[in-house]
C-alpha cells in the first residue's frame, strides 16, 4: 500500500478518493442548509458579477471568428445562409459552456485555491475548526453553490453574445442575407441545444469549485505550496472540464434520443 501511495498512480487515486469524500461532505452539507446566505451571495457576486468582462469578451469574439471561418468554408459550396446555424449549435452545445468554464476556471478556480490555501498555511482553517465550524460548511458549500448558479448564467450570456455578434458579422461584414441567416439558425438550432449547454455549465461550475477548494484545503506548506495549489487547480479543472465535456456530450445525446 505504501509503495502504491508513493507512485503517481497511487497519488492520483488518493486525490480522486479525497475529492469524492469532499464532494460527499459538500452535498450532505448543502442538503442540511448549513451555509450562510450572506457568504453565498458574496460568492455569487465574486464568481458571477466579477467574471462578466472576461466571459463577454470571450463569447463575443468566439462567435465572430466562428462566423467568419464557417462562412469562408460554406461560401465555397454556396451554403452561406447556414453559417449562423452552425455558429448557434456550436455556441450552445460546446463552445459557450466549455470556453466560459475554462475562463472561469482560470479566474475563479485559481482565486479559490489561493484563498483557501493561504488560510490553510496561516492556520486559519484550524482556527475555523476550533471555533466549531466545519470548513466544508463555511468555505466549500458557498463556493460550490455559487459556482453552480453563476456558471449557467454566465454561459447564457456568452452564448447570446456569441450568436448576436456572429449575426452582426455575417449580415453586416460578410454580406449574408440577414433574413435567411436568421431563418436557417431557427431551423437547425433548437431549445435542446441550449438545455445541453446549461446542463454542462452546471456540471462545470461544480468541477471548478470542488477542484479549487480541494487544492486549497490540501495545499502544501509555505508560499510554494500555495503557488502549486493555485496552478494545479487551474490545470486540473481545465483538463477535467475538457474530458467531462466529451462524455457529457455522449450521455446527453443518448439521453435525448431515448427520451424523444
Amino acid at each position: 500500500m505504501s509503495f502504491l501511495e508513493r507512485t503517481w498512480v497511487g497519488e492520483w487515486l488518493t486525490g480522486l478518493g479525497r475529492i469524492a469524500v469532499l464532494t460527499r461532505d459538500a452535498v450532505a452539507s448543502c442538503l442540511t442548509f448549513k451555509a450562510s446566505r450572506r457568504d453565498l451571495l458574496y460568492q455569487i457576486y465574486f464568481i458571477g458579477i466579477k467574471s462578466q468582462a472576461v466571459v463577454l469578451v470571450t463569447g463575443a469574439f468566439t462567435g465572430m471568428v466562428l462566423t467568419a471561418q464557417t462562412y469562408f468554408q460554406f461560401h465555397k459550396v454556396k451554403m452561406d445562409t447556414a453559417t449562423l446555424a452552425v455558429v448557434a449549435v456550436s455556441m450552445c452545445d460546446e463552445l459557450g459552456p466549455v470556453l466560459t468554464a475554462l475562463m472561469v476556471a482560470g479566474r475563479v478556480g485559481a482565486a479559490i485555491a489561493a484563498e483557501i490555501g493561504t488560510m490553510r498555511v496561516t492556520e486559519q482553517i484550524d482556527a475555523l475548526r476550533t471555533l466549531a465550524t466545519h470548513p466544508v460548511d463555511y468555505l466549500v458549500v458557498p463556493r460550490l453553490l455559487a459556482s453552480m448558479i453563476a456558471l449557467p448564467l454566465l454561459t447564457m450570456e456568452s452564448i447570446t453574445l456569441g450568436i448576436t455578434s456572429g449575426y452582426v458579422v455575417g449580415s453586416q461584414l460578410l454580406g449574408i442575407d440577414p433574413v435567411y441567416l436568421y431563418y436557417d439558425m431557427l431551423k437547425y438550432a433548437s431549445d435542446i441545444d441550449v438545455i445541453f449547454g446549461l446542463v454542462k455549465s452546471f456540471v462545470y461550475g461544480g468541477i471548478i469549485a470542488l477542484i479549487g477548494c480541494y487544492k486549497g484545503l490540501s495545499c502544501g506548506m509555505g508560499a510554494e505550496g500555495v503557488g502549486r495549489a493555485t496552478t494545479e487547480a487551474v490545470v486540473y479543472s481545465s483538463i477535467t472540464i475538457l474530458i467531462t465535456n466529451f462524455f457529457l456530450t455522449l450521455v446527453l445525446q443518448r439521453l435525448f434520443v431515448l427520451l424523444s
Partner: protein
C-alpha cells in the same frame, strides 16, 4: 478534564510523540514545556481533535474524542477556545468580525448584543476601540490579544494557548501572561499553555508538564519542577545547551 493516554504520533517516518500520558483537571492551569520542535504544539492539537493520533486516546470530560468524526468533534470543540502561535486571525475580516465569529455562528443574538459582547471582550484583553481595524494593522502582541478575545468570547470551559509569548518582547510577554491569569481567574476556565518561556511557565501554571524525548519526562507543581535536581530538567530550565549542540 482532559486525559491523554499513550498518545503516539508520527509524521512520515519522523516520530513526534512516543506514548504521552497526562491528565489535566478542571479549572487547572497546566503548562507544557519542552524544547522547540519537541511536539508540544502537536500534543495540544490532539487535545482539541485538530490532529488524529496513530495510537492512544484522548478524553475530554470523559468523551473519547479520538474515535469521533469531524462533525461529532464540532460539538466537543464548543467547550474549547484556542489561541494560536501566529494568532490565525481571519485576515479578510475586521477585529470585531473576528472576535464575533463564534458568537454569530452558534448563538442567535441581536447585532446590538453581539456588538456589546465584542466591546466587553476587547476591553477584557485591553484593546478597546479596535473593532474596525484589520488584522494587518495590528502588532504581534495585539494580534494575540485579538486571538484570545476570539477564543474566550463565547465563554469556553477550556482555553488552549499555543506559545502565546513567542516572538514578543519581554514587556508584551508579561502583559500576555497577566491576561492569561486574568482570563483564568475571571472566567474560571481550564488553561493549557504550551511554551518554552520559563518565566511565563512559572507565572501562569499551577501544574507543569515537561515533554522530553517524545514523552512526559516530569510533571508537578511549578515550585517542585523549578527546584528539581534532575539533570535534564535542570538543563532545560537553566537553558544550558549540550556542548555537542553548540554552534561554532
Amino acid at each position: 478534564m482532559i486525559e491523554v493516554r499513550q498518545l503516539k504520533k508520527s509524521f512520515g517516518s519522523q516520530l513526534i510523540l512516543a506514548g504521552v500520558d497526562l491528565r489535566i483537571e478542571s479549572s487547572e492551569s497546566a503548562v507544557i514545556i519542552g524544547r522547540s520542535g519537541g511536539g508540544k504544539s502537536v500534543l495540544l492539537k490532539h487535545m482539541i481533535g485538530l490532529l488524529r493520533p496513530d495510537k492512544g486516546e484522548v478524553f475530554v470530560d470523559g468523551d473519547r474524542i479520538t474515535c469521533m468524526n469531524e462533525r461529532q468533534l464540532l460539538r466537543v470543540r464548543r467547550k474549547f477556545g484556542m489561541v494560536f502561535q501566529g494568532a490565525a486571525l481571519f485576515d479578510s475580516m475586521t477585529v470585531a468580525e473576528n472576535v464575533a465569529f463564534g458568537l454569530r455562528r452558534h448563538e442567535h443574538l441581536t447585532e446590538a448584543e453581539v456588538a456589546r459582547r465584542v466591546a466587553a471582550t476587547l476591553d477584557l484583553v485591553d484593546l478597546p476601540g479596535t473593532e474596525k481595524k484589520k488584522p494587518a494593522e495590528l502588532s504581534g502582541g495585539m494580534r494575540k490579544r485579538v486571538g484570545l478575545a476570539r477564543a474566550i468570547i463565547y465563554e469556553p470551559q477550556i482555553v488552549l494557548y499555543d506559545e502565546p509569548t513567542t516572538g514578543l518582547d519581554p514587556i508584551v510577554s508579561d502583559s500576555i501572561d497577566q491576561l492569561i491569569i486574568r482570563v483564568r481567574d475571571q472566567l474560571k476556565v481550564t488553561s493549557v499553555v504550551v511554551t518554552h518561556d520559563m518565566r511565563s511557565a512559572r507565572r501562569v501554571g499551577n501544574h507543569v508538564f515537561m515533554l522530553h524525548e517524545k514523552k512526559i519526562y516530569a510533571h508537578g507543581a511549578p515550585e517542585e519542577l523549578f527546584t528539581s535536581h534532575d539533570p535534564i530538567v535542570r538543563q532545560f530550565i537553566d537553558g544550558v545547551a549540550d556542548p555537542k549542540e553548540t554552534i561554532l
